[in-house]
Subunit: 786 residues, 2 copies
Amino acid sequence: MPELVAVDRWWRAANYLSAGQIYLRDNALLRHPLAPEHIKPRLLGHWGTSPALNLVWAHLNRVICERALQALYIAGPGHGGPAMLANAWLEGGYSERYPRVSLDERGVTELFRQFSTPGGVPSHAAPQTPGSIHEGGELGYSLAHAFGAALDAPGRLVACVVGDGEAETGTLAASWHLNAFLNPATDGTVLPILNLNGWKIANPTVLARLPESQLVELFRGYGYAPVIVGGDVGVDPMTVHEAFASALDDALDRIEGIRAEHAGDPDAAQPAWPMIVLRTPKGWTGPREVDGEPVEGTWRSHQVPLAGVRDDPAHLRALEEWLRSYRPEELFTEAGAPMPELDLIRPRGEARMSATPAANGGELLRDLLLPDAAAHRVTPGTTAESTRRLGGWLAEVIRDNPHDFRLFGPDETASNRLDAVFEVTSKQWMAGRLPVDAHLARSGRVIEVLSENLLQGLLEGYVLTGRHGLLASYEAFIHIVDSMFNQHAKWLEVADEVPWRRSVASLNYLLSSHVWRQDHNGFSHQDPGFLNLVVNKGPGVVRVYLPPDANTLLVTAEHCLASRDHVNVIVAGKQPEPTYLSYEAAIAHGERGLGVWDWAGTEVDGSEPDAVVAAAGDVPTLEALAAVQLLREAVPDLRLRFVNVVDLMRLRALDEHPHGLAAAEFSAVFTDAAPVVFAFHGYPSLIHQLAYRQPNHGGFHVHGFAERGTTTTPFDMLRMNGLDRYTLALAVLRHVPGAELRHPHAVAHLAATRERMRVHAHEFGDDSPEVTSTAWLDRLIAAARD
Amino acid sequence: MPELVAVDRWWRAANYLSAGQIYLRDNALLRHPLAPEHIKPRLLGHWGTSPALNLVWAHLNRVICERALQALYIAGPGHGGPAMLANAWLEGGYSERYPRVSLDERGVTELFRQFSTPGGVPSHAAPQTPGSIHEGGELGYSLAHAFGAALDAPGRLVACVVGDGEAETGTLAASWHLNAFLNPATDGTVLPILNLNGWKIANPTVLARLPESQLVELFRGYGYAPVIVGGDVGVDPMTVHEAFASALDDALDRIEGIRAEHAGDPDAAQPAWPMIVLRTPKGWTGPREVDGEPVEGTWRSHQVPLAGVRDDPAHLRALEEWLRSYRPEELFTEAGAPMPELDLIRPRGEARMSATPAANGGELLRDLLLPDAAAHRVTPGTTAESTRRLGGWLAEVIRDNPHDFRLFGPDETASNRLDAVFEVTSKQWMAGRLPVDAHLARSGRVIEVLSENLLQGLLEGYVLTGRHGLLASYEAFIHIVDSMFNQHAKWLEVADEVPWRRSVASLNYLLSSHVWRQDHNGFSHQDPGFLNLVVNKGPGVVRVYLPPDANTLLVTAEHCLASRDHVNVIVAGKQPEPTYLSYEAAIAHGERGLGVWDWAGTEVDGSEPDAVVAAAGDVPTLEALAAVQLLREAVPDLRLRFVNVVDLMRLRALDEHPHGLAAAEFSAVFTDAAPVVFAFHGYPSLIHQLAYRQPNHGGFHVHGFAERGTTTTPFDMLRMNGLDRYTLALAVLRHVPGAELRHPHAVAHLAATRERMRVHAHEFGDDSPEVTSTAWLDRLIAAARD
């Protein structure tokens, strides 16, 4: 059929352009015999994966045109950049984004020159790549991104090419099971296309070496209806085109059937979605042999199949032969534009995968309707489970935004006390259900699966296609997604510099069940180190919030859900804790990001305090306030200032982070010379890392998690790490010159009480009311009123 | 058969002891009616997973006795602590390790009281747990640990219970494919037992809700021969015992067959190893209903099925009924020891899974035979690819230690230039092979799979069972295992305090293809932040080395492979770089960990230098030396000291890390007041984090990775981040008081040259010989000789 002729021609054009990007700096359309001076001085790039990526793109274009599909293309294999760029250029989408790379010979030359070169574009799909929401550098996240992009987009087909290399990664292997969460009636479709080109950098891939019958069982076992198509080195591409076109048509017919069935029956069983295994030689159509070694169809075609082309006339000839094998004269007009014959399968406008708004999610982004969180405020002085209050508000957010906000969590939404959301929604679940199940439904705004990797991948795919979400996790185990966080933050850093990329919703983390309240689960569950990772990323992107109470958590969450292009990390506890600030005071405190709590201090106007007691984090705030109260009672003449930090980035210098403080502002809070006893939620050295350029940094004495943990009581955890109220109060006395000497009884009393509390915990297996009661807080607040 | 009667009795005893640990502080054997004062004040622990873990343990004991097996038990499900402890106590192994927990009623009471309580033991398998190499806190690593433990241990059966919760994690999902790497002729056996209890904390599990036929296809697709056994709530346990015993016997017969076949034919195809799916109700034999809600067989039995037992008489009665349902009078003697009837299936000595030396790997550990690395030394002044030199030595290590040293890498052993190892060994690979394959064999000391998670899990399992290894990875992507690293470091921290745990080999990382030489791969491949994670862990455990050249890398690697109980992180480049130190000088430098390089500085004896130029990392050292040479030529009267840091922990204070420096030592190197321009491999703030308590820290000006990256040239990467020689030289002039004013021409010249180099890179796509040549280094060395 003529369409397949056009598909083949498109494929050849994309292959030509992919190879050209790696090799050529001139003579881009081979109007002249190839000469050494046409070759780039430094040959960089990855050829191996390109032909299959191009083949899939070309075939998708046919069905997009025939069936008026809205498709999004996800290129999972590493370093698929040349293919993505080639197809975007052929569609015209690239030139629209980058007019300098025009649809003519000069533009082709520019396309080639910019590739993998200083000031140019990377060798993998990246924020600069039109049509991509998926960074092709680190591997394994394609399928989770695809499922995230498909959620709540019933009209969308997400075609996800999975590389057989990345298929060996943990995240990808688990991602196949995400079909248990995709509802054909309300979500879009993911069509996985596993490309078995057989090789990684230097090894065969595991999946490529499974017997075919076993491979079929594997994907049937994952719940798909797999079809295998492909061909070996030397096969006529047209036979592969015919087989793949037929497999694609069958898959799309089957998808239509599934969607129709589920539209009619919202309780229909989880379908066996189609998936295609495409077996093609790595570096297909490239040089078959180089210097006597097989290259096409082997790992040797992974990067640059022909090296030293400038200096080796035989390699130069081989390259010219290879490039001319695509018959460029049939592919490009005299001016260098794509031949009109390609128009037969070229989608138009936003139907082009290189120009779909889904791949520039900000084009689709709608502001969330954010209900007033004030309705969930807590009366200051009373106790609340902060995350439970947040859950009440999140239930309203979900109610008011039923199509573009989702909550993701690893089996812990209820454990993190956000379960008020189940009053308005359910956990989406397409697998089998039983009468005993609670809050499971075919459709719902919560997705829970016991893999932080899958959740992060889903949320990234969801946010980058223009929606909103929140991932709530145990603090310690968020490290599982460290690398994914890194890559997403890098994506946002780069996207910010790409003029046509529109803003997307921030990626929001709520870290609960945190280090100071995992006393019962033990050392493996105690790790506040994610913050250390986060602060390394671009200051334009990362934000860290440590709200001290429920009201501040509410205002922080409001701020984060309304924000754009950030990664927001909120650390907040789920256990009952006092409320210090009114909702209005919390708004003001959240806006400042840090501040002096006059009511908690014992300063006298006009003179510097003897010491500053500072806190960041809910439990540290409680302990630091208790320390202040202990000192009020034991050493009434001590002049203390109390500082609370919500926004950790406020500690940085002004030129290091947009939230950073100028030296004068920093001094106004932390003084120029008073000792600062700082109670911090995480590793103490992080505060030094952030504040080392600030004045009075030398006077900071930070208490935090000292990597001491076990199964014990909450107080004992604090004591082990020197973050308990007694240790903090003792630290103040130690660092205020002369105070220890002047108040030996206070010192002895504090140390003895600390030891008595330790003994109590170890004897009774629980903390003494002396440390769990918050009666002292009432005294402190009452004293402030006087 | 009588053995199954004993199995059932063992199972009941272990279930009784598991429940007892959660609830009882007294009346441990129910000699009296249960009263509120017998109940713990704080009910903590996880019942749900225990019955199945106990069942598997009991059945394994039968076959260990019958077949004289050497078995290792890995408990994958979260919080399986009560079960592990119960079985260890029943075997007598626990009392041998902890005589206080004796084999009598007092011991049972102690066993119960210590559980999940301050000063006691955690609720999951942990270093304190006899018989365990696997922390049960974070989930997903059991199967990779099991495969690692089985490598090179042909006589070992590793029984790995996989929870259906953890089966949703990425690492576990990918781990099933590890059968592609296990050789039945030379390695041990992994018997996976997937326990489908159906539930996580609050949700069903995906695998439990797959139709049974699909589940079978999935595991056949993974390459196993699955058998499904089990029973629902209310089923007679004896029918499950019979079915499981039969499945276990069949599996072991099949394993014997596989091993025999492969012993006879070293090229036999990858076998379909047996695996068992055990479907049992969560919290089986616990309370069927509580307060009208179903509990047994639901998520409600995850933790403490009956709450408020002290205050609720009905719950107290239900607990007593539950505990008495195990008929403790049949399980324990009058003195409180296990009944002699259990002896029928109780293995003896080291055959007990609670006492197997494999689970206390140090008992099996043999020192590596380490060949003299001096044979691979590089002549100072010449250029070498550091990791290639290391590869030559590693080949000898492999040759001399053919059974207990392995190299793990994600498809990058050759890319990281360690391919000399393939002269003496191969990559182990049991899947299909083709004639074109290179360095693949049924047996070999290298394992490559494109999952850092799998490699880390294999290496952990290998090391914790008494062997040695090295994981070589691209630096950026090692973040994928951040969380696994955290948990392993925590394991080592705790194990160090467990008296009977013997030392194990250190876990060694080689991070190559690092941030400064990923210019061609772009921003996603540029991340030096793993070090920030590492330094947070216990100072007794973590070590970070940044050897500046090939000789220092060799001596560092020698040191690391000989060390014990550490995590060693070595960062080293693979690109050609100069060699500064002779092998002997490298030994001395490595031993000091940091030091002044007199030959590179321009100090005059007896007076303080004008500035210190310091470097940590190979590329920073080269740039810092080049900066010194630029300054020698431009400002000859400047007195500079050059410091190189190999062992990053030397920067910490003496009381913070065993490698830390006392203030006086630190001053002797970094002076008291001279400005220090520090060229660092990673994020600059890490140096401040480490050194903030040291003298002259305020004078440190650190240049490193400023989170600016892209596809460009090596020099341009340095320039973008302010780590290039020109910027470093300018920083020296800026920070030496008055130097900028005195040497305006030098400042202008340096800035202009930097810009000229930038333009060159962007114009030609490659760096100018002016920055790639090392002729200046010859001049510097020659000057030093004069």
